[in-house]
């Protein structure tokens, strides 16, 4: 029996529309907070395969989603490339020594050496594969990576940023340097995703969380083309593994008609009209999304949105999800309500 989530990614008919939520293994779940407290901090939790596997599975049991997404962080990649990652309370991720020059890039660990250091991720996946196979309920496991551009923003700025001004100064004044960083990261990401697949994920998603920081004119050059390169690489080796692209905030890119690439699912953020996306790319790609996550504060608002999305998408070539991650202060029962409503409107018996 095939996995309904994998079938849906390939646009095959499914008995109902599957659903999962970005950040579903997260702070809104008391059970997650308990395991995280045991681990001591977020990064420890990423590094501990047993605990990471445990929190990955929680939303399957508690919320009833159709797919689990590997618990990890996009920044483990630059961390293992030799950058010194830390999470400062209330401030988010920090790298103590941001990339400024070609010499900084040369110092980064690249290729297989970096990809091979991410063993704790592969261990987590193996534990999950074993457990999911044992359960036999055919729920899917999603692996993921950050897009090279999104990873590069942290590597260059040294932290999160509102303006991306250091990255963009580089983009417009020294584009070659930015391309050198993106090249080195892309080469690691390819191997990292390959290792995730070999370890047992059913599907992979590429998160370009900061896609909207790049103007349309430059988006393909500095981000999309690298994501497509990763997808091509994986598709050639693993055609049976669906690939989901999630560039956040790219309504103008979709509207421009310039979306291309060998992948299966396009994740639509909540700021983009899924109706518009369906009209422009819905025949070529299965669409995932896109309920505004803040609707989860209200069951009525959730039902309204699920019905609206269902009305647009019907029961084919669609995967329900939020248009961005679930927030920490959402009541668990509202998340369950969302999942149940997605199943109800799409005909789950």
């Amino acid at each position: 029996m095939g996995k309904i989530f994998v079938d849906a990614c390939f646009g095959k008919e499914t008995p109902y529309t599957p659903v999962w939520m970005m950040r579903q293994a997260g702070r809104y779940l008391p059970e997650y907070m308990a395991v995280r407290a045991e681990a001591g901090n977020f990064l420890n939790l990423c590094h501990d395969p047993k605990k990471a596997a445990e929190v990955t599975l929680q939303p399957l049991d508690i919320v009833g989603v159709d797919a689990a997404i590997l618990f990890s962080d996009i920044l483990v990649i630059p961390d293992e490339m030799g950058m010194d990652l830390s999470f400062v309370k209330g401030e988010g991720p920090k790298f103590s020594d941001p990339i400024k020059t070609e010499a900084d890039i040369d110092r980064l660990i690249g290729g297989e050496e970096a990809a091979n250091k991410l063993t704790y991720v592969y261990e987590t996946i193996k534990l999950l594969r074993e457990e999911l196979d044992k359960r036999g309920d055919n729920k899917a496991l999603i692996g993921f990576t950050g897009a090279p551009w999104t990873l590069a923003t942290y590597m260059i700025e040294g932290q999160g940023t509102k303006t991306y001004n250091i990255c963009k100064k580089m983009m417009y004044s020294n584009p070659e340097l930015l391309h050198s960083i993106l090249r080195k990261v892309t080469d690691v990401v390819k191997l990292y995703m390959e290792n995730q697949i070999e370890s047992g994920v059913d599907v992979v998603q590429i998160f370009d969380s900061w896609a909207a920081a790049i103007e349309l004119e430059k988006y393909d050059e500095f981000s999309w083309s690298y994501m497509v390169e990763i997808a091509e690489y994986l598709k050639e080796k693993y055609p049976h593994i669906p690939i989901i692209m999630f560039p956040k905030g790219v309504a103008p890119f979709i509207a421009s008609g310039r979306v291309y690439g060998n992948f299966d699912v396009f994740g639509i953020d909540w700021g983009t009209s899924i109706k518009m996306a369906k009209e422009i790319i819905g025949e070529k790609y299965v669409l995932q999304g896109n309920m505004e996550p803040c609707r989860l504060y209200s069951k009525e608002a959730t039902t309204e949105a699920v019905e609206n999305i269902q009305n647009v998408m019907g029961t084919k070539r669609h995967i329900f999800n939020l248009g961005h991650g679930i927030l920490p202060d959402v009541p668990v029962e509202n998340a369950i309500h969302f999942v149940n409503e997605c199943h109800r409107v799409s005909g789950k018996k």
Copy 2:
């Protein structure tokens, strides 16, 4: 002789395309920093008509823009409605007592009483009117306000926010309360803009800086309709004063075909394709924008963008601007280069 900037707002033929920059009276100018240092802090500068007028005029003289925009801050409105505004270094604006209930709204000063407290703004405008008339070079003076939604986000969250989760919890769980806040703010904004016009501005701009925080489905209800109401009110009394709407990040709203209202110019942010905007709303509204402000880090990237925008917009129904505010670390000579290039490509002799 009419002002070229006002003529351009009304879509009349002009000898060249005028240009100004959002945040042009700002931290990238050493002359601004000097006056701000004298004032002690940002809020003092807003409250000091003589100094505020001085920094308003600086970019006319230093950078050569075609319009001055009143130096002030959007948050003086909630401040004078009785909220306690402060600027915490490195953290931005704070209100000590955010709006949570109807009783909080009732405590706010409303209508004329609030609008009449903003005398320092009107004094600044009067000084500027006098000085600009004396100069006789027909450069325009732009007044402005924040959109009710954008103001409300600060009033509800108490500060800037990444997630807007408090506002959005209200939007989806208690929309009536949010509408009460928006109603009270809108009524003040109407009178505030009326007073700005009576004091001597030539044009007004409404900044909906956080427009993109609202999903398309709800944008008209919680923001655009209030902006349109303000525009209608002003147009009835002052048809000769152009109105510029600048909702940031609303490509999906433009694409949806739902833009309406009695105003003159639509400001296009850098994340929106000006070509798409021209196709959809360019016949009805003059367009302003939209160079990605980070291109100012490079003269070559600036010239490239100015030429691209010119190629799309031609020399009619367009005002050059950035697609968001100029950043503090932009070299002044690059800002001058931008202005000169806008004038060059549009045929200024």
